[in-house]
Symmetry: C2
Subunit: 284 residues, 2 copies
Amino acid sequence: MTFEKVAVVGLGLIGGSLAAALRKSGEVGEVFGIERDAESLRFALEGGIVDAGSSEIGPGISGSEIVVIATYVDMVAQVAREVSGFVSPDTVVCDTGSVKAPIVREMEKGPRNIRFVGAHPVAGKETSGVRESDPGLFSGKKCVVTPVEGTCPEALSMVKTLFSLAGSEVVEIDPESHDEIFSLVSHLPHAVAYSLVSAVASSGGDRDLFGFSGGGLADFTRVAESSPEMWAGIFIENRDALLRAIRSFSGRLGEIEKAVASGNVEDLGTLLGKARDSKRDLGK
Amino acid sequence: MTFEKVAVVGLGLIGGSLAAALRKSGEVGEVFGIERDAESLRFALEGGIVDAGSSEIGPGISGSEIVVIATYVDMVAQVAREVSGFVSPDTVVCDTGSVKAPIVREMEKGPRNIRFVGAHPVAGKETSGVRESDPGLFSGKKCVVTPVEGTCPEALSMVKTLFSLAGSEVVEIDPESHDEIFSLVSHLPHAVAYSLVSAVASSGGDRDLFGFSGGGLADFTRVAESSPEMWAGIFIENRDALLRAIRSFSGRLGEIEKAVASGNVEDLGTLLGKARDSKRDLGK
């Protein structure tokens, strides 16, 4: 047994899948879940996703060696404060949020009686909720942990072990670099996907356009099924990096627009070729 | 046997797959291929993708009931003129291009000794070339045929039969509507994909960003592997509709950018929710 007790706050897709993966690992004595939504909590309890659970943060989490906060990113700091009232001093607390710098920097101010480590298991699908939980969700995927100067080495090591047990390949990146990287590889693509479906829907009139989406659209818009509330929180938390990414993208699209308008097929081909090659370079 | 002889000009992914599908159907006596690239032609001949072939348009295509022009869109009209010199009067000629109105309207002017039908089998992948040929490429996918007032009903019927033999579900749409629809569901998404990889590559510095593309990028950028030369031709041929689509998209992205900049998570959530719902409406 690697851990006697781990608590997971928020049994959505990520929290539920993590709880299920930890139980399946056989390396955690008790997985305790906190979930406000009664229906979701019952599903998690009856489905064996958690060993025990509660609808609110309270004495039930005491004795946990690690508390994982798997809520929306804009709630992490508040939840950490609540958690700190029910756990032993020096309990390790981590999150699972897609944005790291604002959370990690906020947590540097306290609460002082917990040891916080920022974490982002890179996984997810366009569906959400505990019913979509999958103990294999993290298998072979990266989990970024974002230690800072004040991070306790033992706490960092424990969090890395926890996500390894769930199947993740754990990597360390500083919180600011994490947010820059994910503004490009995740947040910008989501903003683009939402814009694309919105534009297509508004321009397409009454036609059944998705009947023709084999031509390219389907690949892009599956992602726009993701929870708007969750992504609004992520976008705002990572505002500055995302706005830079959007401006960079708009600049590139503007170049293509200009080349299309000019009607010069060679120039346009050169431009698209450069984009294709940059993808290939990055893919190495 | 439905057809005694069919010729396919241009053995790329589409032409090669169509030839292979027609041979596999057992309903075409001879599939004759024209391909300028010697290596590709040899591959098609040795791999049994075509029964016979030639490196240029010539007497080899005579006797064909249908000649399919599967070249880049900007070459269709020129190839049709060449074809018309070697076939019996009233031979049916169709194309496979992703843009229809410019080609169909150009072909209304002649050559008069062939009967032209515009066609667009909606299929493809990010790879190209005859080596990627797949007789199942069109299976269950739509093929849009674009008859106009002067289209010969018998020729239309033959072309519909041909693509049905290849596995397509054939639908009729007028050329202008086709181009409007595909500017949205295919050409705009490709322009967006090229812009996205270009922006990510230029902003990411030396980091291995695609190691993190499980966060969303991978879904969007596979498409940007597509042939830049081919897509440059498609974009320019469908210039007006594509420019309208890009402007509509940029407007939507601008709204998201503004909401992100404002920092109001509720407003942003509402905006993203509307986009998500419009996708759901369209997906019906």
